[in-house]
Symmetry: D2
């Protein structure tokens, strides 16, 4: 069987993750080219992984008729434009999240993708996490009955640099966006958002116009309620948990840890903290999402994590921002769709 | 040393719990009399525990000069009036919660207690629970740093009878009131409440004018945020958990279970559900709160769980009701104090 | 219904435990008298619990025709003689373990009990522990299939005083005897014992002719294998676990802990050590064994923990001693029966 | 930097595991050739991983002067002879365990390796397991104090084919050999072995001259005691645990599981079984042992898992066999060294 030919746009951290997944774990695909505006970065990855071509200009990838699918791993502000170009060039697309920080741009992507009839999958990798995917499967099998309460804890080990905070779009679009997607993944569409936010970690984050601690209440169309608690810093590491309560039972995912060892002495019983780094915590999920994308393209299946999912997660983020600004619950219908 | 002489008003379930704690576990006190409007009930308890006197009319207890302290374990609607009478009679008072469902009545109790110079402790037994008290001690010792997020899960195994729902004051005054007290116990005073509520367990509860599933967001004066999730029915039993996250760490209390046995076979690894019944789950806390009350009276210490705590928990409940009614965040300052 | 009249011989720690269980938790029985060679001790307990009579000489209990059952809680060396006298006096007997440190004496007790037609229950309280009893019930229900491997961990928080070590009969008769009974409770009769022992905690224990760390291998008649690991000192407290593996699954009991709280900070995730003191760890089991004894007497049922169980546990201890002395596996049939 | 050139002898399951580790995770090395007596197997692996040469005859690897290190992944009976040839050819050697089932053959390998001055590492991958390696590090750091009791549980999910059982050398040389190595890894040298064994899983295993359930007691030279419990079949999967108890504390490793999800409903609280397949359970350890081997060769360090470790594990297995045969504790000094 001929391998699917893939081009990667962006050779930074996440581009490298996907490049390795394909090279080492996905025999149905091969990487034909990688590009980066910092071309030395593209060259280095190409050499390490035996990728035959590297470029500064991603158009060389889009213009290569041999390439069937592209992974958009460039900086966030370029995602939408490149996605539209890629769709116009007839490429299937894997696009890192967020697609964009505006509704209009995402709608333009949706339009381009529909017109071109290509596939587009958004990189909401947490849907592919072993723990969360298992809870989703329990819900799908009816093991949880009618869902009533969805609780998501998502705390980072360290806040990002202040320079990044300033351009990030704020905690709701930058960090909570993953949790909004998880909320929709488990609970379906959301009707209303109420967000409570504080600056408790670092006053500089507040001075940069953002918050660092948030508690977001969700009302789902199903009648279920949800809550997301975020913090930019947990001293014990990366805290990523999910609890789903329904009429049929409750499922909860604890954190992954480096070992399963308990050590007990006169001071108590101790065990590992959660895995600290997101790439370590979610590594398998990155491979699994890419495996699914390649499978969708090769076997002409619909992608399950679509650009519409990216749009809805953004709208939830915008609703949360509005809720904080106006200090009131905000209906999702108030946000442009 | 002479024992503290105690009278118990109300020989129902909770009156019996306290009667047994004193008889079996608190050698500094003795029960001199017990009363109940259903006098046969008082007689039965008196005989079982060797209490020398039983009455139909609680005034016989209040009028007995030998009795130093009374436990008010009668029906909720009588708590405030009896407390006022007991204060006027110079008795130290242990009063079951809620003190009353109105702010005015509680303020009248506060006034009477202050005027009489007697002690009053409210039966918020969960403060004395081994798990929650330990988390409180971690917070007090600074082990959690500055508190940021407080999460309380409180779900009942079964909804109460519809007849009870109708007179209960609603889920916020009847069930969440305990969780509001826990929130204040850990996080201090609350500034604002936003409550999200649904009828998901039983439509009859909705027809009775109440809700059965709720998610209440709290903003503390300290800047911390909190969330309480309630449900009138968890198919797996009585779910009582607390998680406190701060700059110094996180503490979380799992449920108590009948055994610590794991059983693993080809179907998976299984262990016990939480203890089902509140008396089983919180039995030790009832003894411990009574031990503290007796100690406060005998050794002339201030009670730590005061009538003001009862008032503030009520105000939080009223704020939650208003939040649902007006679908907006409600400042606690909007509620009569 | 008339209450069963009970006399307690020995007012020390364990006598008090049983006295409280009966007074506070077993309404079918009442304590009529308590004796102790240190009569002030008996007096103190009698006053605290409202026991009408106390004596120096236990014969006053045996001679009281009103008393139906006696609890033998005196020092070990007196158990057998008193049990025989009590049987001859027609009393039903609850006897603390060990019955005796010699086979002959226990056989004399068995003969006396049989002749008198009275009931005798041995105080192997761990059979009544919530965790171990639940594992036994899983085995009885066939949930574990055919049992293959039984593992018992039993470690004390602190070694006993050297003076006690010298008269204790050694670790196998003093400490392991409980584990031998647990092994038989779960796995049935034992065919062979091999014991490996060291002095690793305190050389004085070795000088006193005993060992402090032991690993005992058991071969059951069923073909199952078992292992008991003992230590006189675990720095983290009282370690009491059981694991049973069979063709149908595995059940394991973790230690009981004071709380179910996890505390996590930058140093890791920590939780409570096991309960430290045997009375705290096994308190409920003492009440439950006494409840069963009283029930057997009142309702004329056979006791389930018999003097024969005491004999077999002793024989296993003697086999373990012989195994260490001769450094070889010892068949239980080599030990006088 | 030039990459270390490696040849792999044997393209079966474990050969493929190592080939992938080097290809995907160890940039300091490259595989130059792979051989297998079933040459189609070698060809397939070579093509999949881009290995330039494949052979039927491993001598082509040994004769290639460019190749610096060889991995011996052929069938057990060939390990020793190939290792000797490889040493004579001046290759550094990674040899799968067991090196051989006889002491003499292993000693011949030791002699050849010493004479040639090459490195040899044995594939005791479990030493590199995240859980067990962490316990070892706790022991090394003194966190466990003086070691007293070492408990190893090792149960397979399914017994091997009877045909394999017949040539395997028996459970002690085939299965327990890993556990003997773990015992030495943690506890140091062993003085005496006592093995208790039964046929409880499948009578055919007994008819083939082997046992399927074993409990092996170890006495270490340090005075510590140890126990290994083995079974050829655990209905719940692959059970791999370690508990180390010392004067300073206890460390225990629970099984790894596919997820960290708890699901609780009216039937109880359930979670995942252990990972079922050894390659899944120990995958990271295979990569880590190979990384260490390559590092030792490239940077001229001594290997930590030596052929002597293979010899000592074999001697423990032979002692266990003798213990069962003669039904007595066997000193390791009775086994040829």
């Amino acid at each position: 069987m001929e391998k699917l030919k893939v081009g990667i746009i962006g050779a930074g951290r996440i581009g490298q993750v996907h490049a390795k997944s394909i090279t080492y774990h996905i025999p149905q695909a091969e990487i034909v080219a990688i590009s980066d505006i910092y071309v030395e970065g593209a060259k280095k990855v190409a050499e390490e992984l035996g990728i035959p071509n590297y470029y500064e200009d991603y158009h060389e990838i889009l213009n290569n008729p041999e390439i069937n699918a592209v992974l958009i791993c460039s900086s966030t502000d370029t995602h939408a434009d490149i996605a539209i170009e890629a769709a116009n060039a007839g490429k299937n697309i894997f696009c890192e999240k967020p697609v964009d920080l505006t509704v209009d741009k995402i709608k333009a992507v949706i339009a381009a993708v529909e017109k071109a009839g290509v596939k587009l999958q958004i990189g909401f990798n947490r849907r592919y996490d072993h723990n969360f995917a298992y809870i989703k499967s329990l819900a799908n099998e009816g093991k949880l009955g009618k869902l009533q309460t969805i609780k998501i804890t998502s705390r980072d080990p360290e806040p990002p640099a202040i320079a990044y905070v300033k351009v990030s779009g704020g905690i709701f679009l930058d960090m909570t966006v993953h949790d909004f997607d998880m909320a929709r993944f488990i609970g379906g569409e959301v009707e209303e958002v109420y967000a409570n936010a504080s600056v408790m970690v670092d006053p500089e984050i507040g001075e940069a116009g953002d918050v660092d601690t948030a508690l977001i209440t969700l009302k789902f169309k199903s009648g279920a309620v949800g809550v997301i608690d975020n913090c930019r810093k947990a001293c014990y590491g990366y805290d990523q948990r999910l609890e789903v309560f329904g009429s049929g039972g409750q499922a909860s995912a604890a954190n992954d840890t480096p070992t399963n060892v308990s050590y007990i002495n006169e001071n108590g019983n101790s065990s590992d903290k959660p895995l600290y780094f997101f790439l370590e915590r979610y590594m398998q999920s990155f491979t699994d999402e890419m495996t699914e994308f390649i499978d969708c393209v090769v076997n002409d299946k619909d992608t399950k994590t679509t650009v519409n999912d990216g749009l809805e997660a953004l709208r939830l983020g915008l609703a949360a921002k509005l809720s904080v600004a106006e200090h009131r619950p905000v209906k999702l219908s108030e946000i442009e769709a």
